[in-house]
């Protein structure tokens, strides 16, 4: 039950506030005393400074006290998870692969184990960027490969919550809400029959699921479906889900705290033309119009084509979020700029362009890119370090 590194006092303070314990400063000023609101006889002390010699002892003890306050069983797994939440509040995107026992429990194909979390992250990042009201980072930092049960491999990916709601708010965090919406969307996507191109496209559009996400799951290139099909004999099942943050989700309803697991067991690549039909109908059904010069344009890079153009999803103009994101294509781009866009394509991080934009009803928009103004992506496991950092001016 050991937590090796020091967790700041402020993190414990925030955690005790979130679980509703009552705060009292000790007479000596050396401790803050936290008391269970339902039992005045149950309390703990928290040294005010991490440098106190007894701090590690109380850190370990207070982890166990918090497990009690959260009504979580006292075990190694919960202690480790709570310590991870105290270091940085996070949700987990869960990727599960169940091997075919006939191949033995260790026979999980590496390619699938790599593509499943990668495409799941890309799709969720894209979903989040197109749904969230203001431009927000989605820091995804931790990537673990866990073998939890015989024949079942679980790859959890941590999504850090940099700006959690105050401890007094008993509402789901943005990350919680968007993870629920995302898993619902993927479940709906999995249920759409693939009998006919236009019918499939119309039903995807009716569910407000973007073609980029369809491509991540069902594409004929790098997609989850492609590698599921490649290893169909070696893999019995795959699924995605999520795990909440015990502290951020404290006090929420059961259905808000628990996330569904979406079965991807029957996933297979779309037939030829399905994606092209979907992309065309997506543009045709888009009724937005716009014309603006010398504006800041927040975009996600959807693709880079061999003709030296890039395709974008436009999220916001001059910092004002679009009612609905739409697709746009650049003019011819220099190789350096294409390379830069390729970096953002790989990481699914949004970036801001400066330039002119024009979009007619039912048409693909066009962007004349004058400048790549700045980026606020930060390096993560899947990032190319070249794209990290603030104020990367590209001239």
């Amino acid at each position: 039950m050991q937590s090796n590194s020091i967790i700041p006092v402020s993190r414990f303070q925030d955690a005790f506030e979130r679980v509703g314990w009552q705060k009292q400063t000790s007479q000596s000023g050396k401790y803050v005393i936290w008391t269970d609101p339902s039992d005045d006889d149950t309390w703990t002390r928290l040294p005010v400074s991490e440098s106190d010699a007894d701090y590690p002892i109380y850190q370990q003890k207070n982890l166990l006290i918090l497990l009690y306050a959260l009504d979580l069983p006292e075990n190694q797994s919960n202690t480790t998870e709570l310590a991870s939440q105290l270091k940085a509040y996070n949700y987990k995107l869960i990727n599960r692969i169940v091997g075919n026992q006939a191949f033995g429990s260790e026979a999980i194909p590496y390619e699938l184990a790599s593509v499943l979390p990668e495409k799941n992250i890309e799709a969720f990042r894209y979903f989040y960027a197109t749904k969230v009201k203001k431009r927000t980072l989605l820091p995804i930092e931790k990537f673990e490969f866990n073998h939890t049960e015989q024949g079942s491999f679980v790859i959890p990916v941590s999504i850090l919550v940099d700006d959690p709601q105050p401890s007094t708010v008993r509402l789901p965090s943005h990350t919680n809400l968007y993870l629920h919406q995302y898993l619902n969307a993927i479940e709906e996507l999995m249920a759409i029959p693939q009998n006919q191109e236009t019918d499939f496209a119309d039903r995807v559009i009716a569910q407000s699921i973007d073609s980029k996400i369809v491509k991540d799951f069902f594409g004929r290139g790098e997609s989850i479906a492609r590698y599921k099909e490649k290893y169909v004999d070696r893999v019995k099942d795959i699924s995605i889900g999520s795990k909440g943050s015990s502290l951020l989700d404290f006090g929420l309803k059961k259905e808000e705290k628990e996330f569904k697991e979406v079965d991807l067991g029957n996933i297979r690549p779309l037939k030829e033309d399905y994606l092209e039909v979907l992309e065309n109908r997506e543009v045709l059904s888009d009724e937005s119009t716009l014309e603006a010069d010398n504006v800041r344009i927040d975009v996600l890079v959807d693709s880079i084509d061999i003709l030296g153009k890039a395709k974008f999803t436009v999220l916001a103009i001059d910092g004002i979020k679009n009612e609905k994101s739409f697709k746009a294509r650049s003019g011819d781009l220099s190789k350096a700029r294409l390379d830069k866009f390729a970096d953002y394509f790989k990481t699914s991080q949004s970036l801001t362009l400066r330039g002119d934009i024009k979009k007619a009803k039912g048409k693909l928009g066009t962007i004349i890119v004058d400048d790549l103004e700045f980026s606020d992506s930060r390096p993560t496991l899947f990032d190319d370090p070249k794209t990290g950092g603030q104020n990367n001016k590209d001239n």
């Binding site: 009292q24 309390w43 002390r45 006292e74």
Partner: protein
């Protein structure tokens, strides 16, 4: 007569103090946890809880937990202990920073020369011929003299009462 080296003698004294504590605890049946490596340097030998925070949990509220530091000395160790009418004066050799509700438990043994009489094992009973006294540490101590009142005998009744000090959260 068997003779012992200093290290061996100290080891026996330490085991006597642990046996004394376990013997009393067998009477009151509290949770007694030997300190792990986290407590290195904090001079705590045992944590004792008279009530856990809940079923299936190892942790206790501060109001139900005390920390125990064991000392064991024979009355013949003149440099360590002096007996007076109402107290034992023990010489503390190191700085001491209290942790939580912190007690020093001093086991006073008969003279070293009587080591063969320290315990007595018969088919009917096991006897530890020694008495422990407690001292509540409320502030940091420097090396020097500590006064153990002879009325502070550690027995099953006083062991229960040691937890009264843990209740005083307003005094922290």
């Amino acid at each position: 007569m068997v003779t012992y080296g200093i290290a061996e003698l100290n080891s026996i004294k330490e085991k006597m103090s642990v046996a004394y504590l376990h013997g009393l605890n067998a009477k009151v049946n509290f949770a007694l946890m030997e300190s792990n490596k986290d407590f290195d340097g904090l001079q705590i030998d045992f944590k004792m809880a008279n009530k856990k925070i809940g079923p299936g949990r190892t942790v206790a509220s501060e109001s139900h937990e005390i920390n125990l530091q064991l000392k064991s000395v024979s009355i013949s160790s003149a440099s360590m202990i002096e007996e007076k009418e109402h107290e034992f004066v023990y010489t503390l050799s190191n700085d001491l920073q209290p942790l939580g509700t912190h007690y020093i438990i001093l086991l006073v043994l008969p003279p070293d020369k009587d080591i063969e009489t320290w315990h007595e094992v018969t088919p009917e009973y096991l006897l530890l011929r020694s008495t422990a006294y407690f001292y509540l540490v409320t502030k940091p101590l420097k090396p020097g003299k500590i006064h153990f009142d002879k009325s502070n005998v550690l027995n099953p009744v006083s062991l229960v009462e040691l937890f009264d000090a843990a209740k005083k959260k307003d005094a922290l």
